[in-house]
Symmetry: C2
Subunit: 324 residues, 2 copies
């Protein structure tokens, strides 16, 4: 016969993405006790996705022999811009506009909910769990399908005047470059995101350059993931090797740009591209950043050790009011 655990001493952190919902169970010391992952299915719309988030959380608690009543609070990181009332103002990834995410999840789960931008949440996770909130000024840069950043100034998350700060993926680094979907030109996201890398591979294939990727994924590049790039490099694929090196160089320049403008103590890189290709890319990113940084700047560049768990960790930290 099992005894019901009535202790209210846990936090839940959620990382909501366009393809997956990742939920983490944390203790009050931000130690990760368990995770649950299900697909987002954004095509089901706002209510459908919220039901799936609730299911993901309930399964997470149940797997740990707990229920939602054992949680003190829940934090969620989601793509897009977030209003102070917890509404998602706009999310291109999820095709949401002014959706009451906080209210809906509080109704479904009977828990206090904090909503934050996904890059901001991941930055807070790294800041509190990995850096122990010691550096006053930190920038987190996340390379994935797209590219975003989180900014910590004077020990606090900086959100900007429209809660939209951190769109480093949409800063122009190639003033003669291609038009970006965002309306600008030559954006960083067109140079170093997973999408940018695969676009370059595609161009190389069309030029007739040999690459192992043309045979992988049944020839459909859009089905490939960042780790397929690593596999190709490990098998001696010179074409992919060169393209990933170029993306890393551009990311290194993005780091030196950030350092020259914002003079942080530390820049931390994360996201799916770094998770898969960090061993390959980080030496180039570091070398490029240090070489191009302004004389007099002193800073560190690292890849996060939290990997995919940065987002859920930060979301749990937010549920703990770590940003106040």
């Amino acid at each position: 016969m099992s005894t019901q655990n009535t202790e209210k001493s846990y936090y839940v952190g959620i990382d909501l993405g366009g393809s997956k919902i990742l939920a983490g169970l944390f203790d009050t010391e931000l130690k990760l006790l368990g995770t649950n992952k299900i697909r987002t299915k954004p095509e089901r719309g706002f209510d459908g996705v919220c039901s799936r988030i609730a299911r993901c959380v309930k399964e997470l608690m149940d797997d740990a022999d707990l229920s939602c009543e054992n949680a003190i609070g829940l934090g969620i990181g989601t793509p897009g811009s977030i209003a102070p009332n917890g509404n998602v103002i706009f999310s291109g990834n999820l095709d949401w506009k002014d959706k009451p995410l906080k209210k809906k999840l509080e109704d479904l789960l009977k828990l206090p909910v904090v909503v934050e931008n996904d890059c901001n949440a991941a930055t807070l996770g790294i800041y509190h769990k990995e850096l122990h909130a010691q550096s006053p000024n930190m920038v987190g840069i996340f390379l994935g399908t797209g590219i975003g950043a989180g900014l910590i100034f004077n020990h606090k998350l900086y959100r900007g005047s429209n809660h939209i700060a951190g769109e480093i993926g949409h800063t122009t680094m190639d003033i003669h470059g291609d038009k970006c979907n965002c309306g600008s030109i030559g954006c960083f996201e067109l140079l170093s995101s997973r999408g940018a890398i695969f676009r370059q591979v595609n161009k190389a294939i069309q030029r007739g350059e040999p690459t192992l990727l043309s045979e992988m994924g049944d020839g459909k590049l859009e089905d490939l993931r960042s780790r397929d790039l690593l596999k190709a490099i490990n098998r001696g694929d010179k074409c992919v090797d060169r393209i990933v090196d170029e993306a890393a160089f551009c990311a290194g320049i993005a780091v030196s740009n950030t350092v020259n403008l914002l003079d942080p103590d530390i820049v931390v890189l994360g996201g799916g591209v770094i998770e898969a290709l960090g061993d390959r890319m980080m030496p180039i990113i570091e070398k490029t950043a240090y070489k191009h940084a302004f004389p007099g700047t002193v800073f560190k560049v690292i890849a996060t050790e939290l990997g995919d768990n940065a987002g859920i960790t930060g979301a749990a930290a937010l549920a703990q009011n770590k940003d106040i």
Copy 2:
């Protein structure tokens, strides 16, 4: 017979540049009562320049029938990075390294002195005098011989971890561009500074393009100033017109980059290039910035009305402890 004014109710603000020292006398409401300007003569070294600053201040006070004893304090904006103790850590313009500017001026003038980076001082001047400190987040961008910025986050000047934040002139906007003296490549300063504009004019002359500037300044372009560019444009010089337009376009992209990363309420442009060519450049800068800014950002772009007096105003504001 004159009566000695013994009222101690004035502030002095200094803008120290590579070519000139500008001093301003302010009342407690930051109203400008008078100015004095003399040449810097940086070749006389640190002690020589400090003596000239002291002379400039004493003349300023005397012209107003006052003496240094009537001043509550003095602020000074100077190129380079400044330590919290008021030492100039490094200034390329003045060829100074670790110079005790605060201490030296306090000894010479018997006044409390506050030292700040020149772009930071100008930003504070605009923020307090022109914007009345109402926008939480503001960026000042100054186009002159070089390009620098000042950052206000949550109503306070942000200096960065090494007191060097704001080097927007050394952020890469053309990843395939020329090498910059700073060690990086394709920097904003190579695109929109006065130096960059004159370099482009020089290249055009060498290509054989007709421009009125080849006849001005006895053919020595380095002797020309920003207002000579305006004169040439007003006389119908198509070559200068095009080059200034391109510089303005790049400055507009720098503004949208700043907005996308930092999401401020307002970006204010200043510096000698804007002072001389603002009427010509600002419409292009505004249009480009609004067009390339991330969807959802709401911000204003303006040229400062303080012109050359932004620096002395901010320096006086610092003397008033406006940043605390």
